[in-house]
Symmetry: C2
């Protein structure tokens, strides 16, 4: 980006004017207060007859407009409205209007605004032609005129400057620049002509107006969750979202196009390429910033980015998804975070995730390049896709987590969910990439002595086992797997997969022996610090007994499937009778895994077995559960009334917690607060009190998160209903 900024002279023979890319910082003197008519124009036609008309006051009527536009919750001085829907302004003139008087409203965005690009809009209330926004006089009371203005449903989104210009005999006499009359214009999920229209009210309340949400984590067999505070209405957040677009140098003219805007957002939420909002970090070392697990929500991140212009450290996928969701809802776009369990990543664009084993059945870590994420979070936006054939609008995947393989750039989407379900991978953007994330096959290879690979098992169901989001209007989870895929093996699924192949996606067609022996692993839910009981079931569907040379491999893994530490390898032998299942119970003690955990909470078990010529294998990921914080709220739950919150915690472990950071946040209730303890000894308790005054009414919540060097992912929440003052 800097090339153009520094060397703009190199383009002087190329552009008539530089393309404006800044909304918040732009030339505020772009409009003369008096603009004389061109001398060569037709002579005075609208010369005033009485006393000269001038504008005394302009009122943006916040109390009337905000409830109508569902923008009351924004904690901001200026009027916020949604496009494609009328708002009113009260203009007080120096005297009552006469039929000879003529005036116009002017709305400007960005520097050097242009009528034909939509960044300068002239609104007339007479028969005289204006711009694309319509205006009408709704009421006149003496010298005060109430004017209704309807921005077009495809208007530029951002912060407009407002002027009123009176036509005099010799030119246009404008109001002075007044920051109080600046107007924020958003996408409108309530307007049927808007590309961000959402068809039902419950959905709009959830996907645009709900400022808290849930991120699903863990693994397909053991889903866990944590709350995330979107906080899109908190003070400074709307300006921060516009700042992100400015920092991306997105042309002002493009900011009404929701497709371009969400694609730009997916690029800007990560710091790669463009110094965007968040720095990804998948190591165990977060000493140079904030650990991804310790954030309570998006607000602090967005405000820090907007205040410093420097990417915020650190994020993993749910942080990218949480902050991106705030950005989208804040600008009025229906959006929700999504979790895909067992997500295929970093493959070469085909549908194969290759796991490689040595001849003895142990994992060949050196030659295995692919990994399966326990889960991956992205976002969906609900938008119209006029650029695609009919039927492919609605929910679209956008992903802000930096992905090397997405077209070589760190962004992803919007990719139509309907197109992914149908295997229609011939449309933009990045649908093939998302298709692979939910549909890859896992192929188990043995590597022979010559370095060549032969597949011995293909698992077509492991990847994309479940896809979750929060339900509308409740805290329940909603399984949306069926939006992405037809049932495995159905006729429709086969059609989708062949279509994907027609569009060049490489699938596995390995011939693998169809064995009579199989193995599976199950584990019970277990708290961090407890022993893990693994149940390994060998099933023999053949008519002869089989003796299996089996091997257990146990590691601590990152949620990305990458091994952090390996802690156990064990051989054992099992004989399974014909048509029988033999269960082996293996105990993994806390003493074994605790020294290897670091800050990870996922244990990964692989069992492989060899019986004559048949190889079998099974994988299990067990997530250790963490204790909860207790959050209690007291006081009268009323807007602007002082209330109290207490966060308490007792260390249940026999080891001390070091370098403990506590944070809490509650959109509409309490801003981000934090507290530090150098250590919490075994069985010791802490208790933290804060006071606050609710800003917004309705059901609200406060989330608290504890983060320490040796324990992460500890949180607690309180829910309350605030009544109006």
């Amino acid at each position: 980006m800097s090339a153009q900024t520094n060397d703009s002279n190199k383009f002087k023979g190329r552009y008539n004017e530089p393309v404006p890319t800044s909304n918040l910082v732009s030339d505020e003197n772009d409009f003369p207060e008096f603009e004389p008519f061109d001398e060569q124009a037709t002579p005075r036609s609208h010369a005033p007859v009485g006393a000269p008309l001038s504008v005394q006051h302009v009122d943006m009527c916040q109390q009337i407009n905000k409830p109508n536009h569902h923008t009351s919750a924004y904690d901001i001085q200026n009027l916020v409205v949604r496009r494609g829907m009328e708002f009113v302004m009260l203009v007080t003139f120096s005297r009552p209007l006469t039929p000879q008087d003529d005036f116009q409203l002017e709305f400007l965005i960005g520097s050097d605004p242009s009528v034909n690009r939509g960044s300068l809009v002239v609104v007339t209330c007479s028969s005289r032609q204006g711009g694309p926004w319509s205006g009408q006089i709704k009421e006149m009371q003496g010298a005060s005129v109430t004017i209704g203005v309807t921005p077009s449903a495809n208007a530029i989104v951002g912060k407009f400057r407002t002027y009123v210009a009176v036509v005099t005999g010799t030119g246009l006499q404008r109001t002075k620049r007044d920051p109080n009359t600046d107007l924020y214009l958003l996408f409108n999920a309530w307007a049927p002509e808007d590309a961000a229209f959402f068809p039902d009210e419950a959905g709009r309340r959830e996907y645009v107006l709900n400022d808290v949400g849930i991120m699903y984590q863990g693994s397909a067999g053991a889903v866990s969750q944590r709350n995330w505070m979107f906080g899109q209405f908190e003070r400074g957040v709307l300006d921060a979202c516009i700042y992100i677009l400015d920092a991306s140098r997105m042309p002002i003219y493009d900011r009404g196009n929701v497709i371009k805007l969400v694609r730009k957002g997916s690029a800007m939420l990560n710091s790669q390429d463009d110094n965007g909002v968040l720095v990804g970090n998948w190591s165990d070392d977060y000493s140079m910033g904030t650990p991804p697990t310790s954030w309570t929500g998006s607000v602090k991140i967005l405000l820090q980015y907007a205040n410093t212009g420097v990417p915020v450290c650190f994020a993993q996928c749910w942080v990218f998804a949480g902050v991106f969701n705030t950005f989208l809802r804040c600008l009025g776009i229906p959006a929700r975070p999504i979790t895909n369990f067992s997500s295929a990543h970093d493959n070469t664009g085909n549908l194969k995730t290759d796991l490689i084993f040595k001849a003895d059945g142990t994992p060949d870590r050196r030659h295995t390049r692919d990994s399966i994420w326990n889960y991956h979070c992205w976002n969906e936006v609900y938008i119209v896709r006029p650029d695609l054939p009919p039927g492919l609008g609605g929910w679209q995947v956008v992903d802000a987590t930096p992905q090397e393989t997405s077209d070589g750039h760190f962004r992803c989407g919007p990719a139509s969910v309907a197109a992914i379900k149908e295997g229609l991978l011939c449309h933009p953007f990045d649908s093939g990439f998302v298709f692979a994330e939910v549909n890859s096959d896992v192929i188990f290879h043995k590597r022979d002595r010559y370095g060549t690979l032969s597949p011995f098992r293909v698992d077509k169901t492991h990847i994309g086992q479940a896809i979750y989001t929060k339900a509308v209007g409740s805290t329940a989870s909603l399984d949306v797997t069926h939006n992405y895929k037809y049932p495995e093996g159905s006729a429709e699924d086969n059609r989708t997969m062949s279509r994907a192949e027609e569009y060049g996606v490489e699938r596995d067609h390995s011939e693998v022996p169809d064995g009579q022996l199989s193995v599976s692993i199950t584990a019970e839910k277990v708290m961090l610090g407890q022993d893990v009981n693994l149940f390994v079931d060998f099933q023999n569907q053949g008519e002869h007994p089989r003796t299996v040379q089996a091997h257990l491999n146990a590691s601590v893994i990152f949620y990305t499937g990458v091994t952090a530490n390996h802690f156990r390898a064990e051989d054992f032998t099992v004989t399974v009778q014909a048509y029988q299942t033999e269960r082996v119970m293996l105990k993994v003690t806390a003493q074994e895994y605790l020294p290897h955990l670091g800050s990870q909470l996922s244990l990964h078990f692989i069992v492989t077995g060899q019986a004559d010529d048949q190889s079998v294998s099974a994988i299990n990921v067990t997530n250790l559960e963490t204790p909860r914080l207790t959050v209690t709220v007291s006081g009268e739950p009323r807007v602007q009334q002082e209330m109290f919150v207490n966060v308490s915690f007792t260390n249940p472990f026999n080891f001390p917690l070091h370098n403990v950071h506590l944070a809490m946040e509650g959109p509409g209730l309490i801003d981000c607060r934090s507290r530090y303890y150098s250590a919490i000894d075994p069985q010791a308790s802490i208790s933290w009190n804060e006071t606050f005054s609710p800003r917004l009414d309705g059901p609200r919540c406060i989330l608290a998160v504890l983060d320490s060097n040796n324990l992460r992912q500890v949180w607690g929440m309180a829910e309350i209903i605030i009544i109006t003052a």
Copy 2:
């Protein structure tokens, strides 16, 4: 890109291994010379019976392989072959092979090569399973074995390391690393299974093997041309092309995918975003580098980039297209440069190019943001598009000139030409952008006193008037407009335009008065330094005489349509009788325009007229022709024989030329040479002699270019046929 390089630790929990992105510089010790078999593998099965076998010598058989693979012209030490087609290797062992002997060939690319990603290929000549490339023993003579190897038609493209490994009883015994056996593998336009297959031999000779070409410039009414030396076979160029992919950090695994590779190329040929090959400069100030007009071809640019790693200054569109064409042909992809005359640019993604006029008919430069390039050059590649529905493969637009509006990134394509013709804009990549470049409407607006615009004329034929490339096997031009568009106004054209609208492309539907008066401008071809005669024809199709208040506006413009200097404004009045045409001749003298030229050669004339309520306008762009250099070649035209070339020039102007740079280049004949003259006085002559020895036979040429502070675009060429030694 640097974020990941510097902070790779942040990703340690995310990737099992870093993705290899370097071909030329990679770990050369990645393969042990002796690799013992795993102890737990099955016991010795292939133990040798006689004396131990070892490899004495590996010969890559360049003299046999190069003609078969059409790679003889590459000036490089190593073997260059094309994928999907057999090449042979001669391996000399320590003794004749016996049936018990076993060996394999191994081809490696990039660091840490991987069998399942195709960067490590094992080729066996026995029944034992190898990788995707096939091998067979073709001949045995004593201890020498001729082996045929056929790389798969989708193999990775780049520089492979070659090993021969003999199976011993205890492991694999490999040859030492030998740079002489390194192998360059290219795309193959001759192999039907290759995505870069081209269906006829004449086309392959032109689009892959021709190392010189023609760039069309000027304007639609007056096409000019200049030669461009692609030089894809010159020493160092192939390595430079691979270096570009390395500099882009393109994963090795993706380099067999022609779609990803050309898209990456379009991004890397310009310096924006990624420190790519060329820095664009559209000013008149080239003091910090080489003026775009002064290059003779691509070789010097590519070698300079590969040697320094720093973007080369400076380029305009034909330089980007010329160098990109070299890159594509060098890697084996059929490619050609294209010129679009009257190209619409930098619009907001709709099909409207807005020209704005004041009430008096003069151009309103302050409010006109759009410009029409006299011409714009891009490239086409001929490739299969499995990612799109049938029928959209073949020629695809790729454009390396940095375009702000192409998805916010500095790259463009591949966009299917067939999809553009049909208006199927719902497929990747950037087809809507290219569609607008060739199909926009020009809308003439008047801006009224209130700042609002009203259209008075729409020209649907001005943009994309003609699209040219060089014909196959000749120096004639080929009009390929019909590949991009159906005839204006035809039923098919209407269908295309409505389809484009269905896919969200905004078109103009202004109601403009259908007037009876029109105006047009013509000018004769004119040499720089001569007067220009403009013929302005006013045509009255009505039944009453009309008096027109007309206005002529004359400027020097950049080829991008942007005004460099304005030099004349003149009012005149014309009366046109009913059903008559009235011609006005306006003379523009050389004295008028010469002081304003700078280094531009395009004069831009607008005539506007007002008769009662009707406005008319016409635009003319006249390109001044420049003198030619005389290039003569003497000596016996035979490979490796000394020959002579003379470049001569006489300054025909009455002003001296200052700071004169002369350059010449002839692929296969003579490398880049240059000479400097501080001044050439009026009527003075220069003469420059060089000697050279032809490297390649066949029809060849030498291009010379003169560049000075006050005269550019002067060139000359000599063509000769070289016979073999």
